[in-house]
Symmetry: C2
């Protein structure tokens, strides 16, 4: 017995199918509301793009339909209706791929449409029914065991045989993408400067745990077991990444530093120079992915007098942890995530610590965020409702960023209400708190600028009651031999200064490894173009350069938090697989470069 | 809308509940058919036992009901009806535990009942909603990180703090049980003579793969990813076991040899003497589990003249693999699993190999077994029908061994039909093939004697066409300096003799480690008492000594194939947890010891 909502969805899909098959773009867009959004994760556009409004959608269809041959639009499961919005899932096909999506209707017309590519026809993952046997039935003289084949591949790849793809950076992003590539049969080497997978976590200061809850953090294909802590201790996560890398059979080159890379336009090939266990090796992949981390190119601080300082000073990325600073005077310049973590850890060893806040920060308490923001889709409760992590990723993806921001405003209001007392105490302590330029809070700030927030796991209480001292509404005038001088004339003695001054765009890595020209050519990574603080316009509607084609041929950027590393590795790996297989990937709507940094 | 079948199940459960609550054992058994079976996995009996017939059930209820307080019998999901049998799942409670089971009705009366314990009230696993946070919200001076706590535990357990339980044997059995124990918070050390988890697989000859398909082989809590090969290559499985041991945070003492163990009746404590990295350590657990392997105490061959043989000779367990024997004359005495594997591997290096078959063997082809025997519950198809591995384990457990044997006869007939040509060729080659004493084939032979079969992954084809030579219907008369002399007067030259002469009962380990007295006290492990070849009566209906209380206080045996290691570790771990928590565990129906070996 099909529900009314399901009938509405099926009816819409049928009409949509008809217009697309007949290539009547005008008729197709009439199925959309005026205020409409179509977010496509590569299936139509070989891009990650949100088309807003009918004209944009019509233009895309005009450009793509001829070769695409979309078909077989089927509702998946039962649609549902709430507050005037009908929401349904569906599957579809194109000439080369199978896809899945989510549709939202208002008054029978499409408000939001998400289309995603699930797999390439003829290049499906060898899983489930298609999984490999592992052993040949029968016997064969001199056949090689799994171990032999693996060891031979390890001896060969990067030496006598070139990988199709090299990923620079073996953190969660590189590892998640590597796992997808392995499954798709794309020979890939992951290059990581640390020795073991997980080291980038192990080397962090000792009490660090993830600030996102477990249901949000799974890697592709192999979920954390159901007794995994809500907030992963860093070493436990490190161990998981290490075993994951092993059982997923990734070609992981630890203790390997990438020195430089350059693209040969004629050969359509990169030269990537690495040093592995002291040996210089030149790799020649067709594709290069930088997965060096959203927060990895430090914003080097520049304050007058730094060279005179007699104590320890370093950027937060170089902070070794609090152990050497028990009882010392510590000044931390900055007030976002790193600053809070570092201040709290210093307080824990009884250091005398002052946070210097130069601009406002948004704070959401971790538990509250977990319950009000992520909870509806990433939680035990969600699991009990049948929303597993793959479904949750799709649901999140189905809200274009513009709409997501509006929804976030509502969530932020709930958070403000629930933690009213907390925010009152925080502001009473003098902390400059904001809710984002438009009140949309943490998630949106994260997407717009990757900074300017703190997910509170305890430091804020220390600020509220003064255990972490606060200096606000000043700028740094000068660093002196034993102190920091501020713009209001005040001075703080210091044995340690930590510059929690943030990170620059990942194309900084392109500048360091490849060239400034290439870095300028591709432009800034991340940011939506919302014309809010640190996210200048014009509006792109998707994080610049992430997981999709850039202005530099065969150069890609992968990263984000664990959710994004997981979900978007699917679409990046499919693009790379298509390239390897010679499947045409005509890109629609590649964004121009508006900002270089 | 409740189906007729569901109504029948609910009705029966309600009546059953009433009779149990009123303690009317006579009325309770009237709800059962005359030909009935109640298989209980510890929930009623703190034993692993099948009660057959109403008198047996009545006697058990008379003995257990007073303290048990069973209640809250609820149907779970929808029941179904097929061929006159109504089958439904249910949950229930006792005073101390929660349980789950499967009921089968014929004409409204119970034909088979399975009751299993799921968890102890107040001692539930910390998973799902109850999982630990991983980090304290807030901050605390000098708090310890996860890594510190773990390292401190490793430094302490077995040295300054005694584990509650020691498991001897760190293969899949010890590891699966160890994972359950960890989740239940029972401090446990696993002692393993090899260095790394998985080594017992790595050290096998190179082309070995599992003969059971992946859906059957999962470990508890963390299933193989969905692209895992159907038949795990040994080294890949080794890697999985190694990483599983790590991420499950097991206290695994590799390179540790157990030398002896003895029980102190007064202190109610074991002394287990081990050598770890050269150091002698005495452990004092309250409970000792032998998980040394169903196939681990070799049946040492004794043939006249062995001491004269000039070539290589060893039991199959000591066979290093075929590499040194290319082109050599190899005689393998035995015709079951090990013999076949070894012969095939030798043939692959072009050795001249003869299998000496002294008694008949049952052979089922792996692919056929996978499809016809395991397929209904352990397969992609089963998964698509919602039968995951936990459900599959319950379904298999719900058939008492007597009934399972009858069902197996039907399966064996199907197998015989499907592979008729194969069996014809095998027998034409002279191979002595059987279907078990009653035609019930492989699974039943496995449960009755743990031997006498081969799951064919290719060796049989080599026998069919003579590439592996066969000598049958003889016994070994004498081993000479360069040959084997047979009872029919024939003689085979040999550079290598492999005695694939099987394994003895696991209580042989008890004899070696503890004492012959204790080994005799507990008696033979495995076997059902079916009064068939190598499984002498009387009928027990459950494998002797496995996963349940033995005649030696605080001594337990764990093992079996991957399915049994996984499923029965649940019940063994719950018994051990109950003991640790001081929850009374009155054992009903502990079997007497009928056979010492």
């Amino acid at each position: 017995m099909t529900s009314k909502a399901s009938k509405a969805v099926s009816k819409w899909l049928t009409k949509f199918d008809e217009t697309l098959t007949a290539r009547h773009e005008q008729a197709a867009v009439k199925l959309f509301k005026k205020d409409c959004y179509w977010r496509d994760l590569i299936s139509f556009t070989w891009n990650i793009i949100t088309l807003e409004g009918r004209p944009a959608i019509e233009a895309m269809l005009k450009d793509t339909l001829a070769n695409l041959k979309p078909s077989n639009w089927q509702i998946e499961g039962e649609a549902k209706e709430a507050e005037g919005i009908v929401e349904g899932w569906f599957t579809f096909e194109t000439k080369v791929a199978r896809g899945r999506g989510i549709l939202r209707l208002k008054d029978g017309k499409c408000w939001t449409l998400l289309t995603t590519m699930v797999e390439l026809k003829g290049h499906e993952e060898m899983k489930g029914q298609r999984r490999i046997m592992g052993t040949e039935h029968g016997v064969a003289r001199n056949r090689k065991s799994w171990l032999q084949l693996k060891q031979e591949e390890e001896a060969r790849l990067g030496y006598t045989e070139q990988p199709y793809c090299v990923i620079i950076g073996g953190g969660q992003g590189g590892i998640a993408l590597g796992a997808r590539m392995r499954r798709l049969g794309v020979p890939t080497i992951i290059v990581e400067k640390n020795e073991r997978p997980g080291d980038s976590w192990r080397k962090r200061y000792k009490t660090l745990c993830l600030h996102d809850p477990v249901w949000y953090d799974h890697l592709p294909y192999l979920r954390f077991p159901d007794d995994w802590p809500v907030f992963s201790p860093k070493d436990k996560l490190g161990d998981w990444l290490e075993m994951y890398t092993k059982v997923m059979e990734l070609n992981y080159w630890g203790s390997t530093l990438c020195e430089s890379a350059s693209y040969d336009e004629a050969k359509k090939e990169w030269t990537v120079n690495v040093v592995r266990d002291g040996k210089h090796i030149a790799l020649h992949p067709k594709q290069l992915v930088l997965a060096t981390g959203m927060s990895s190119v430090p914003n080097a601080p520049k304050f007058p007098g730094m060279e005179n300082f007699k104590g320890d000073q370093h950027h937060s990325s170089q902070h070794p942890g609090p152990d050497a600073y028990a009882g010392k005077k510590c000044v931390v310049i900055g007030s976002n995530n790193s600053a809070h973590d570092i201040c709290a850890a210093l307080w824990e060893v009884s250091a005398d610590v002052t946070m210097v806040q130069r601009s406002s920060t948004h704070v959401s308490r971790s538990k509250t965020l977990m319950e009000l923001d992520l909870g509806p889709v990433y939680s035990e409760k969600a699991l009990a409702q049948g929303i597993d992590v793959d479904k949750a990723d799709m649901i999140v993806a189905s809200y274009p960023y513009k709409i997501a921001a509006q929804r976030q405003i509502l969530v932020a209001k709930e958070i403000a209400m629930r933690d009213a007392d907390f925010y009152e105490r925080l502001e009473k302590a003098g902390f400059m708190h904001d809710w984002g330029d438009d009140g949309s809070g943490l998630g949106t700030k994260y997407m717009r600028r990757g900074s300017g927030y703190y997910i509170d796991v305890g430091a804020s209480e220390l600020i509220c009651d003064g255990r972490i001292k606060l200096k606000t509404r000043v700028s740094v005038q000068e660093i002196k031999e034993h102190s920091v001088l501020f713009s209001d004339g005040s001075e703080l003695p210091a044995d340690l200064i930590v510059y929690a001054t943030g990170y620059g765009s990942m194309n900084g890595w392109a500048a360091m490894l490849i060239s400034q020209d290439v870095a300028d050519k591709v432009g800034k990574c991340w940011g939506l173009g919302s014309n809010t603080t640190k996210d200048p316009g014009p509006w792109e509607g998707e994080p610049s350069n992430m997981w999709k084609p850039t202005q530099q041929e065969a150069l890609w950027f992968h990263g984000g938090n664990l959710h994004q590393s997981r979900h978007y590795s699917q679409f990046l790996s499919l693009q790379l697989k298509a390239h390897m297989e010679g499947i045409p990937t005509p890109v629609y709507g590649k964004a121009p470069v508006y900002h270089k940094i």
